[in-house]
Amino acid sequence: MIQLIFFGFIGLALLAALGFLMRRGGARPEGDSGVLLDARKALDALQGGLLPEELVHRIFAKDDLNYVSSTSSKRVRDLFIAERKKIAIAWIGQVRCQIASLKRFHVGAARSYAQLGLRTEVELACRFTALLWGCRALQLAVSVAGPYAAPRMVGATATAAARICTVSEQSLAFLNPVQLKPIANNSLSS
């Protein structure tokens, strides 16, 4: 009986491995332009709008809270906390949404373009999963305890997201016009 269960497990593991390898091999070489465009947009939104250090610092800056607390009434302080909480939750939600979009790109199409190794892919998958869970945890912390509940988590989330952006940018580098220039020149000369 134990032997049967043991071999059953081995069989299942082999099937899972086979399924994984088939999925890896099944990526269309021409890729999906929609996923590519979404990934490019997500990358631009993260790097241009959501992750600049100064903006993240300003959203979660405690000096603004200190200023409001020292100069205004409780009503204004409450308004400030409510407004910052709303913005902080929106920021985390946006980061999570754009990271999920980059994850879709990596899961579905990155292999076709970037020729990533299995190890890099597994590493990336772990990073994506950790970051998406991290965003959920941060969102929960801010919802329950306010925008200043977890400053270290905010920093860690922004850093992790920036790292993922760097990797994704390398995967999407072939879309840069500078790299496309020689191709255009070749086709013009021929």
């Binding site: 709008g49 903006l55 800056a61 100069t71 205004s72 913005i87 929106a90």
Partner: protein
């Protein structure tokens, strides 16, 4: 040899420099610059107009230079600390020659800052600035309420 877009970019940079030297250098506060540059934009088309700049550099280059400066003023304002925004808003209010109460009521109701942001601004940054304006107005209102009647007018 330069490509067309590179030449145009150089023209835009030159126009931008010209705009900064001749006009924007007189407008110290980023908030005033944001409102001034937003007023240069046609609400129906989204195109910026500045006669002097257009006569020197052409309509298209002038428009891009104004849009660049508008984005720059927005970026400066969105990361400025709240106390600074309150000071800028109070300074702007003084320059309009309205009473504090009138100004706060109008800005609270009409929220004119919502139409002052550049196009294609990241929505979260825009919302963050609007939120800061709301708080800054509340701070000024609380300050006004705490003053004796005669001074508040």
């Amino acid at each position: 040899m330069h490509s067309g877009s590179a030449v145009k970019r150089m023209d835009v940079d030159q126009a931008r420099k010209d705009l900064c030297q001749r006009t924007l250098s007189d407008i110290q506060r980023p908030l005033d610059r944001l409102i001034y540059l937003a007023s240069m934009r046609d609400y129906n088309t989204g195109v910026y107009h500045h006669d002097g700049l257009a006569s020197r550099f052409g309509e298209e280059v002038a428009c891009e230079a104004l849009a660049d400066c508008h984005r720059e003023a927005f970026c400066e304002l969105v990361i400025c600390p709240l106390d600074e925004l309150v000071t800028q808003l109070d300074g702007y209010r003084s320059s309009t020659h309205t009473t504090p109460r009138e100004f706060l009521t109008a800005w609270g109701r009409l929220e004119p800052y919502r139409v002052a942001v550049p196009v294609e601004t990241d929505p979260l940054s825009a919302e963050f600035l609007f939120s800061n304006f709301k708080i800054a107005l509340a701070v000024l209102e609380a300050r006004l309420d705490s003053r004796p009647e005669g001074l508040a007018a």
